[in-house]
Symmetry: C2
Subunit: 242 residues, 2 copies
DNA sequence: GCAGCAAATTGTACGATGTACAACGACACT
DNA sequence: AGTGTCGTTGTACATCGTACAATTTGCTGC
């Protein structure tokens, strides 16, 4: 006796079928983001999404071609408007600082989306010309041109995602409890003979450095490191100016 | 009439059951890597893996707890031994240069693994103390200590993955044909009024800059940009030395 | 040699998930 | 009223991860 396919939430009085559509591409994406925020990407699936929207699973497909398209859109939404406004008398450095800040804040607002960024980013920031132009303009104002401009641009984009992805990507899920102490244990077991610098700096590094952490960026943000990172990137670009 | 569950490849004379195990954790991981190299992560599944190993799907579970563990191991294998050897009279710069070089080469050998790196890297490079110590020792030799050491370390790790992940992550799958020309089309349609710097530098950037590419790093490597990137990172670290 | 045990694999089965596809209702315009 | 299109319901299925029981095989102590 297979239970009926779990009718949509009977509560909310939905608009009747065709008058004003209950769904829309935007509502779907929005709900998907909410779903991911609550449950994480791994647990995200179309049936839960549909339930949240109070429709049957396949209704979603009217507005969206498939699941990966939804994920791509979600990423796009999260990072929409990362590109800062140009300000008059804007220094290229301060523009880039703001860009880095905004990017990280977008990620921090939706940490569960972070792992998607890597997978989708190539085609993502979906050819956001404003974003690209913003970076290029800043670098151009810094005096970069030609091959150096390209190299600077790629460096900025690489840096932008490299830090943030790692900071906010979820740690080995679920059994956090046990895993956390396992990591701490391993750290305590460092052999000062084999790994002297690490051993000597353990207290400084523990939970504050990639790979040596047991908490996520949303629980234990790496504010200082990020601030320093941004300055390092700027210094790197500076060195490109010849 | 459900077809029988597709018996394992009848060919290869497997070792009999318990004498010398046909499988082993290593063989599983190795086969998984091969599978991913050929088909990509998205298409990777346990049944194909089992078929390649000429066993029934669930036999794999004797050696490995679950799929994600396999993926984690695969990443670990690919980046095993990234940490370069220390050389006598080793300059910290040349050590880091080698590290960056080796990391990228590992990724280039298995580009399909790239998207996994982000997802798993946090717990990945599975507390490879040799890797960590290598970076720390180099930075320490550069004169960094305390908070600056931490910041430098995090910057290196962030930079390491930021560029490479993006360079090699697969572009919007499948319909490459159509997608590629779509991207090119959009690029040609840039409005010089709205995005002047981009428009002016289009030929330089097209297919050679993140977001503005239509080919993967394995097809169109960003060698020059990466070389520059590494030098920028070093300059950034330099700036940390006060 | 043989009983029994453990290791490793075969086979079966099930629930979750993405998605195709065929109704079907509701409004919009004739 | 008739008809077509939009948006949704409802059904159905193939794929996949994995639990679990049955079975085979070699190894060990007797």
């Amino acid at each position: 006796m297979p239970s009926p396919p779990r009718p949509p939430r009977a509560t909310a009085a939905r608009k009747s079928a065709a008058s004003k559509p209950a769904l829309s591409r935007e509502r779907v994406i929005e709900a998907a983001l909410a779903e991911i925020d609550e449950r994480g990407v791994a647990a995200f699936n179309l049936r839960n999404l549909a339930e949240r929207l109070a429709v049957y699973p396949t209704a979603v497909y009217w507005h969206v071609p498939n699941k990966t398209a939804i994920l791509a859109e979600v990423v796009a939404v999260v990072f929409r408007d990362v590109a800062p406004q140009q300000r008059k008398n804007d220094d290229w450095r301060s523009y880039l600082r703001r860009l880095f800040q905004r990017y990280r804040e977008s990620a921090r607002r939706h940490p569960n989306v972070a792992p998607l960024v890597a997978a989708h980013l190539v085609g993502n920031l979906r050819i956001d010309f404003d974003f690209v132009e913003g970076v290029l303009a800043a670098l151009s104002a810094a005096g970069l041109a030609g091959a150096r401009l390209v190299a600077g641009y790629n460096a900025v984009v690489a840096a932008l995602i490299g830090f943030v992805i790692q900071e906010f990507s979820p740690l080995p899920e679920a059994d956090t409890e046990q895993w956390q102490s396992a990591v701490q244990q391993r750290l305590l077991g460092v052999d000062p003979a084999a790994h002297p610098v690490l051993a000597a700096n353990l207290p400084l590094l523990a939970n504050k450095a990639f790979i040596l952490r047991w908490q996520n960026g949303s629980e234990a943000p790496l504010d200082d490191s990020y601030a320093s990172f941004v300055e390092q990137v700027l210094a790197g670009l500076e060195s490109l100016r010849e």
